[in-house]
């Protein structure tokens, strides 16, 4: 074999890249997550459907409830449900970390539901951290949007 000083490292890099999934986990299989299911009650659709389609259903719900004001969902078997994440889904699935997060972490999915919604186990509202950039330019971390608007209103009267 010619140029084995370059070819052999090349082959080793190639094999390492292809077999990355094998050695990355050190051959350890990870058990599938087991989300905690509510003891009683029924979900809007079947378990199998919810397992694979819940994100699409939630997306449709979001659009219907927020953009069209449609708050009633009729499931495939004719039952009717109030469309709401916090007052619907999370009434039964009331623990985000034991239900939502287990699978999402396993599949490395980061849903953006919680940009707007507050999971039930979160007792207090935590103000988001002011970014270092704001501090650097001396921008105050608390914004007074609505109160300022009111004061303008008073000034006119």
């Amino acid at each position: 074999m010619y140029n084995s000083d370059k070819v052999i490292p090349g082959i080793i890099i190639f094999v390492l890249f292809v077999t990355l999934p094998i050695w990355w986990n050190h051959g350890k299989s990870v058990a599938a997550p087991e989300p905690e299911l509510p003891k009683k009650g029924r979900c809007v659709e079947s378990k199998e459907y919810m397992r694979s389609h819940h994100m699409q259903l939630l997306n449709v719900w979001r659009n219907e409830a927020i953009r069209q004001g449609m708050r009633i969902y009729t499931s495939s078997d004719g039952a009717r449900f109030w469309i709401s994440l916090q007052n619907g889904c999370m009434k039964c699935h009331n623990n985000k970390s034991k239900f939502c997060d287990r699978c999402h972490q396993f599949a490395a999915v980061e849903p953006y539901c919680w940009n707007c919604h507050i999971p039930p186990e979160t007792k207090k509202f935590k103000a988001p951290k002011a970014s270092g950039l704001l501090k650097l330019f001396g921008v105050p971390p608390v914004l007074h949007g609505s109160s300022q608007a009111e004061s303008y209103g008073h000034a006119e009267h």
Partner: protein, 338 residues
């Protein structure tokens, strides 16, 4: 005809999987045995190809150049077009592999009326780069199904790729790009009469196969949906050699898995092997230093060839030379006498 054969082969594969998994329930065959066999074929096949190429001697230094080679100090040297050392070769090769630099210079000749026009033609470059980079990013992105915990860079790649948050699950930019690239590459072979004429079934087959692979993946993500957690559990089992027969995963997943297995197993036997072949091209991986470094033909390494001087050669064929009336060099005999 070539197109039809390739298309029938790919559609046939879908039918085989649909029948095997959907009807006969051969989960272990299509879920475990076929992927393992394909991966082994891929690894052994490509290593064999690489070793085989590395064993082939390169008798001449045949670098392709299109620039001024390194010469006198006051002549400007084109480092990328005519690399003079290994570092410059690596630079040029990196640009070739990552940016398809030589394809960027693609020209097209066209007759318009009675005049021949040459013009720059970047479409092939654009289609090729869209296709290859998207494919690579999609491949790397898939590592989120093969690893736990998922490495940060892969999460970042995933977030960037789905940056626009279109639909749910978010539409990946690379999915759109690879479809655009593939469509162009297929249409080019179908529409352009010159390219169509030189296209074989082995040119269409990988395109259709990858199109099938991409569409089955996109169908699975955006439309038909399968349970991702079961898929990851199964895939992790495969990767860690604890394969379990997958249950409750739709047939579309097995179509996807069969397509990638077929693609991977087909790799070492087809044009797709250019993935490793590009590094073994003597026209690209050698520095253009013919005038400074003597390239010794590897056939001669350690085995000095037996040379004949002219006189020895003349002596050997003297009879034939005389019969043919060729002149005999008398100097040979003079030197012997003296």
């Amino acid at each position: 005809m070539n197109v039809v054969a390739a298309l029938v082969a790919v559609i046939g594969m879908v039918i085989v999987v649909w029948f095997g998994v959907g009807v006969l329930k051969l989960y272990t065959l299509f879920g475990v045995l076929v992927p393992y066999a394909a991966l082994l074929t891929f690894l052994i096949g490509l290593i064999y190809r690489m070793v085989n190429w590395a064993k082939s001697p390169v008798p001449f230094k045949i670098t392709t150049t299109c620039g001024q080679q390194k010469s006198l100090p006051w002549i400007k040297h084109s480092r990328l077009e005519s690399p003079a050392n290994n570092f410059e070769v690596v630079l040029r090769m990196a640009l070739e592999v990552l940016a398809f630099r030589s394809l960027f210079r693609n020209l097209r000749a066209d007759l318009r009326g009675r005049k021949l026009y040459y013009g720059s033609s970047k479409w092939l470059w654009l289609g090729a780069i869209l296709f290859h980079w998207s494919f690579f990013i999609i491949l790397v992105r898939h590592l989120r199904l093969f690893t736990y915990p998922v490495p940060g860079p892969i999460k970042v790649l995933d977030a960037v790729d789905s940056f626009f948050h279109i639909g749910l699950p978010h539409l990946y930019m690379t999915d759109v790009a690879i479809l655009a690239g593939l469509t162009f590459l297929i249409l080019r072979r179908l529409v352009d009469a010159k390219v169509n004429y030189i296209s074989h079934a082995s040119d269409y087959f990988p395109l259709f196969l990858i199109l099938g692979l991409v569409s089955s993946g996109m169908l699975m993500r955006y439309f038909l949906r399968v349970d991702l957690v079961s898929v990851k559990e199964f895939v992790m089992g495969l990767a860690t050699f604890h394969p379990k027969a997958p249950k409750g995963i739709g047939v579309i997943f097995f179509v996807h898995l069969f397509f990638i297995s077929a693609l991977v197993a087909y790799f070492p036997f087809s044009k797709l092997v250019h993935m490793v072949g590009v590094f073994f091209s003597p026209t690209r991986n050698l520095p253009n230093d013919n005038r400074r470094v003597r390239h010794i033909n590897p056939w001669w390494e350690g085995v000095p060839p037996k040379f004949l001087t002219y006189c020895e050669w003349q002596e050997k064929f003297k009879e034939q030379l005389e019969q043919a009336g060729q002149p005999i060099d008398e100097d040979c005999y003079k030197e012997k006498k003296s």
